[in-house]
């Protein structure tokens, strides 16, 4: 179990979490929902260490490799799709994972020239090429059509623990979630 206890976070003037506690399972797909601005993305950023909480503890993350799919693809635009993924793994694995997301024709296209949906798939590929232990995903289906959504959902299911933020209620069925956290 990943135990988040007595978490307090203030960003600027806004208190995002005050003495907040929650448990996440060790494995499975967890969907995090809630109103806009309630702190879903902040929770993800705390889990991956990009935000340090003022107080509180997180247990169960030691020695576990975390990868993140951000709301924006955050690719290196002058590198190709394949090079972006190959930065975190070997070339063969990068190629394999990109092909599993229907990117076989765009492997050697610079990220800056890809469409929004294609960039999102490269971002997903990079995350899963880096680690399948814990994958944190912030709106991972943005810009994807139905077929690519299904492929992405299949990939997400392959993670040991996937924590997914989504606004779309249909995503719960698509991902066959194991747990839902409503902030």
């Amino acid at each position: 179990m990943i135990e988040i206890r007595h978490l307090s976070v203030t960003l600027g003037d806004k208190t995002v979490f005050s003495d907040y506690s929650v448990s996440l399972p060790d494995a499975g797909v967890v969907l995090v929902t809630g109103e806009s601005g309630i702190g879903k993305t902040t929770l993800l950023r705390i889990l991956c260490g990009l935000i340090k909480p003022e107080s509180g503890t997180i247990e169960g993350l030691d020695r576990r490799k975390i990868s993140v799919v951000f709301q924006e693809p955050r690719l290196l635009e002058r590198l190709t799709a394949l090079e972006n993924v190959a930065l975190v793994t070997d070339r063969a694995s990068a190629e394999h994972i990109l092909k599993s997301l229907n990117m076989e024709n765009e492997l050697h296209i610079k990220a800056g020239s890809l469409s929004g949906g294609q960039k999102q798939r490269v971002s997903l590929a990079r995350a899963f090429a880096f680690s399948k232990d814990i994958v944190l995903l912030d709106e991972p289906f943005t810009g994807l059509d139905e077929q690519n959504k299904r492929n992405a959902a299949q990939l997400i299911r392959s993670a040991r623990l996937a924590v997914v933020i989504s606004h779309d209620p249909n995503d719960a069925d698509l991902l066959s979630i194991d747990e839902k956290i409503n902030l």
Binding site: R78, L87, F130
Partner: protein, 249 residues
């Protein structure tokens, strides 16, 4: 056709200015004292480039420029890294930058002359001119890096890969632009410092010598040489910087 147009666009303005120069020298400079003709200047230039002492002066000046410039770039980048990342260095070093930027280079040269060998004064002055330019622009480039990409790199990349793939490609274009501009300023600073410090060999010393002896064609010839060498060196450095930058494209 494009090459021809480019040649014409360069040669025609030069020809216009040389003609104007010739006309002016005929009007006001019947004696060489006031304004030598382009031909007199060219003849003096030929004498300079055919003499060993001429080349020694040119070589020493270029050596001083390159030394001051390279040291200045290294110090400027180091200060930029420190002030961009550590507040304490920002507080400590920012007043120094303001001081350097506002103090005239002649003041620096005269102060340095008291305690430093005359040959070293131009090197230090060039460094003093280059440091704040490189420092300020590089610091701004470091501070303006994409936060989103830095966060991505924090999750996925080793520090070395982060530097090569994320940080340097964002910083280098700004650095190269300011490094190119700084070279021109280093030229001017070194010549000025040489005129004041009068080292054993140097273009500035030669210019001062010909000024004292009212040898105006020689003075014009050295000035023309400075312009030509400056353009040449700037282009060489620009090509080198461009080649270095291509590694990160």
């Amino acid at each position: 056709m494009r090459i021809l147009r480019k040649i014409v666009s360069i040669c025609v303005p030069i020809a216009v200015y040389i003609t104007l120069w010739q006309l002016l020298s005929m009007l006001v400079g019947s004696r060489l004292l006031l304004l030598p003709s382009p031909l007199d200047t060219l003849l003096s230039m030929k004498e300079i480039v055919c003499s060993a002492s001429g080349w020694r002066s040119i070589g020493m000046t270029i050596l001083r420029i390159l030394s001051g410039y390279l040291f200045g770039c290294a110090i400027g980048v180091s200060f930029a890294v420190l002030t961009a990342h550590f507040r304490v260095f920002d507080w400590l070093l920012k007043p120094l930058r303001s001081l350097i930027k506002t103090t005239p280079i002649t003041s620096f040269a005269l102060i340095l002359l008291v305690s430093v060998a005359s040959g070293m004064v131009p090197v230090i002055v060039a460094m003093i001119v280059v440091v704040p330019m490189i420092w300020q622009t590089t610091e701004e480039a470091i501070k303006n890096r994409s936060i989103q990409l830095s966060e991505m790199a924090q999750i996925y990349l080793t520090p070395w890969k982060k530097l090569c793939y994320v940080s340097l490609p964002q910083i280098l274009p700004t650095f190269f632009a300011s490094a190119s501009t700084a070279l021109g300023f280093a030229w001017k600073a070194v010549i000025t410092a040489e005129i004041l410090a009068l080292p054993k060999f140097g273009i500035g010393r030669q210019m001062q010598f010909h000024k004292i002896h009212v040898e105006i064609p020689e003075l014009f010839a050295w000035t023309l040489l400075v312009i030509l060498l400056s353009v040449l060196l700037e282009n060489v450095i620009r090509i080198l910087l461009k080649k270095a930058g291509q590694r990160y494209d």
